[in-house]
């Protein structure tokens, strides 16, 4: 029989839960409900007059080609961030797994960038690559490449992808390394005895066994690129040039705070809320259950 600790009191469990519930309600549910409410309003900047317009804000949104373009920008951005961050991390993890001397120092150093705040990472990269004062463009120009992400869309995208992925490499590295170390040595050794090359061993044994980790990281990385890269964008391109790096989250901030269009901005955040909900469902329903050894 299962052993359980049961609360006899009727109110104690609720009292113990209350702080957590209060935080969730105040910082998550309340703003979320406010966002839903505001998304049905048209209001001036100062909140002096407002009108209930039902779904007008949403209709405007999906008729706005620039909003749909922002979806595309976000998709490209997140895929690039996830694939770049994960492939570099996998490479580093595979190498770190084989290191014998100085492994701890090597691993520690690789984990450090995770402690860097996104905005700081953005500023660092912006300085390195600044068209006027950066060190990298100076050498690129010597090599005949004119680096100016202020007007070149692809270079701007490259910059924010690098700055965003850089931070995530550490996180991914940690998970990949743990995944690699949980693979039984005996299988790899058996393959080696059978004459499989290290490259072959990696693709036929290690990589498939890593798939649960990879899927988990894919979801985490996409969520990261979607929602947590605001600091990187704001510190570097601020969505430009044109709208080349205006991802959805940045557009919510821009329209709501800078452009003082609360209704439109709230409608966008409601749409984003739905995206998060569906991503979470995907993660729990499919990824965590279906991917098995």
């Amino acid at each position: 029989m299962e052993k359980r600790v049961v609360f006899k009191s009727a109110w104690l469990p609720y009292a113990l839960l209350a702080p957590q519930i209060a935080i969730t309600v105040v910082f998550f549910f309340w703003p979320a409900i406010q966002a839903v409410y505001y998304s049905f309003l048209v209001q001036d900047a100062f909140g002096l007059s407002s009108e209930f317009v039902w779904f007008q804000n949403f209709r405007d949104l999906f008729h706005d080609s620039h909003y749909l373009a922002s979806f595309r920008v976000t998709a490209v951005f997140s895929l690039l961030v996830a694939s770049l961050g994960m492939s570099i991390a996998l490479l580093l993890a595979a190498m770190a797994d084989r290191v014998i001397r100085g492994a701890v120092a090597y691993k520690t150093l690789l984990i450090w960038p995770y402690a860097v705040a996104p905005a700081i990472a953005g500023v660092l990269w912006a300085f390195l690559f600044s068209p006027s004062i950066g060190i990298v463009p100076y050498y690129l120009l010597k090599g005949g490449i004119n680096w100016n992400w202020i007007i070149n869309e692809n270079q701007a995208m490259l910059l924010v992808v690098m700055a965003a992925a850089y931070k995530q490499v550490s996180y991914n590295f940690l998970f990949f390394l743990a995944g690699l170390q949980s693979i039984p040595r005996s299988m790899i050794e058996a393959a080696a005895i059978d004459g499989a090359t290290p490259f072959r061993r990696f693709w036929t044994i290690v990589f498939p066994l890593l798939s649960p980790t990879t899927f988990f990281l894919l979801v985490v990385n996409i969520v990261y690129a979607f929602f947590e890269t605001f600091g990187v964008i704001d510190a570097t391109t601020q969505g430009g040039p044109g709208e080349a790096t205006k991802i959805l989250v940045y557009k919510v901030y821009y329209d709501g705070v800078r452009a003082a269009d609360l209704g439109g901005s709230s409608a966008q955040s409601v749409v984003l809320m739905l995206v998060v909900i569906s991503l979470t469902v995907v993660q729990f329903r499919f990824v965590e259950r279906k991917v098995q050894y």
Partner: protein
């Protein structure tokens, strides 16, 4: 008993009132960083030392959009500052917020403080007045776009400095080609692309930026920036960019540093850049009128102002407003205006301050400081050149800039970009109209 306590209350008030008077604090949120920020503190200290009933407290709240956003949020939460510095593109938003702001003409009248809008230069007072000529905000730091030339780079390219400074856009392109041929890496750059090449460009050529007197006569204005003249200007820039003669530096003042360091030989940007250029430039430079297209009738007209004005927020006590009015009166004294003009590079905004600066001999030593005001006063302003007032132009200007970037990058033609900018800009205007019409 009641009478007694009333008497006690009256006695208390009698003591309390002068005390409260002495401590009335006036919050002033501004966006002046660095050298200009020190000057703001100077002004406040000087005023505070001159009397004892009010205390002006300047608070730096970040960039223009940031301080405006902060003030809007503070107003919604019920603790806005008494005075807020708002940049020129925020004017329409502030003006539409009746109930959130107190118009300056009303503030001055209610507090019996002398105030003469005619003391201000017409392009300045016109920008901040309603259609009936009532001044709604208090002009503070005004600037305009001027044309900077690196004379050393010109000499190297065989152009003789000031004498060869381009007057028209045709001459400008010819000079750019010469500079490029002489090996100049960055030929031309600009600050504030929309303010320079759309807003001031239109006023300078006496063509409208929008209907309804550039939005000053009503919320139902539309942008009119998709014209052959505007397309010509943006195509010229896009073409220069393609041929490596126009280096785009960003939407704000980033281009100014490229000129001051000697990297770029020509710059169009705010007069406010002068203080920094004076300090940094290790070459001979000069300031000129903006180039113009000489086949446009009436060009050059006059340029329009940028910079910011001071808005008075609602919901304060009459005593605070009395203090604000007196502080504004203090700010408008010619000696304070001149001090601000000379030390920051912003324009002298009253005739008296301009005359006073002239007499002081400052312009003899710094002729470049007078170019902007001459350009601003080139001709009496018309409906096209007295300013602009578009709802939510903070967003409208960024939309224009996004489209300009697409044109400069070569992703869109100038025509397509301006077409789209006008369309998107009009959508923003309609949304603003819907939110503020009631």
């Amino acid at each position: 008993m009641i009478r007694n306590s009333l008497a006690a209350l009256a006695a208390l008030l009698a003591f309390a009132a002068p005390n409260a008077f002495a401590q009335a604090e006036i919050q002033w949120w501004h966006s002046m960083a660095g050298l200009n920020g020190d000057k703001v503190n100077d002004l406040a200290n000087k005023y505070n030392a001159s009397q004892s009933r009010y205390k002006v407290v300047p608070v730096y709240k970040g960039s223009y959009p940031e301080s405006m956003t902060a003030a809007i949020a503070a107003f919604r939460a019920g603790n806005a500052p008494a005075i807020l510095q708002v940049f020129e593109v925020g004017t329409a938003t502030m003006m539409a917020a009746k109930g959130a702001v107190i118009p300056v003409y009303k503030l001055m009248k209610d507090s019996d403080t002398p105030f003469d809008p005619k003391a201000y230069l017409p392009p300045v007072s016109g920008y901040y007045s309603d259609p009936h000529g009532n001044m709604l905000s208090f002009p503070f730091n005004s600037s305009t776009v001027v044309f900077y030339v690196n004379e050393d780079a010109f000499k190297k390219a065989g152009l003789d400095g000031a004498a060869h400074a381009p007057k028209t856009w045709k001459e400008f392109v010819a000079a750019a080609e010469k500079l490029k041929a002489a090996g100049q890496q960055c030929v031309y750059t600009t600050g504030w692309p929309s303010w320079t090449h759309i807003e001031n460009f239109s006023a300078w050529h006496n063509v409208p930026i929008g209907t309804k007197e550039n939005g000053m006569a009503g919320l139902d204005a539309r942008f009119t920036i998709d014209t052959p003249l505007h397309v010509r200007q943006i195509s010229m820039l896009a073409d220069l960019a393609k041929r490596g003669m126009f280096t785009y530096a960003g939407r704000q003042s980033q281009g100014e540093a490229k000129f001051a360091s000697g990297e770029c030989a020509m710059l169009t940007s705010s007069t406010g850049a002068q203080a920094n250029i004076r300090r940094q430039a290790k070459f001979k430079w000069s300031v000129h009128f903006l180039p113009y297209w000489d086949d446009v009738k009436g060009a050059p007209q006059n340029s329009i102002i940028g910079g910011a004005s001071l808005w008075v927020m609602g919901g304060k006590t009459p005593n605070v407003y009395k203090g604000v009015a007196e502080f504004f009166n203090f700010l408008s004294r010619p000696e304070n205006q001149m001090d601000w003009h000379v030390s920051t590079g912003y324009l002298p905004i009253t005739m008296a301050a301009y005359e006073m600066t002239k007499k002081s001999g400052f312009y003899k030593e710094h002729p470049e400081a007078e170019v902007a005001i001459k350009q601003l006063m080139n001709k009496p302003p018309t409906a096209n050149s007295k300013g602009l007032r578009f709802g939510n132009f903070v967003q409208g200007r960024e939309v224009i800039e996004e489209e300009l970037e697409a044109a400069f990058e070569g992703k869109k033609s100038a025509k397509e970009a301006l077409d789209e900018a006008e369309k998107r800009g009009n959508e923003i205007l309609r949304k603003f109209q819907a939110a503020n019409a009631r």
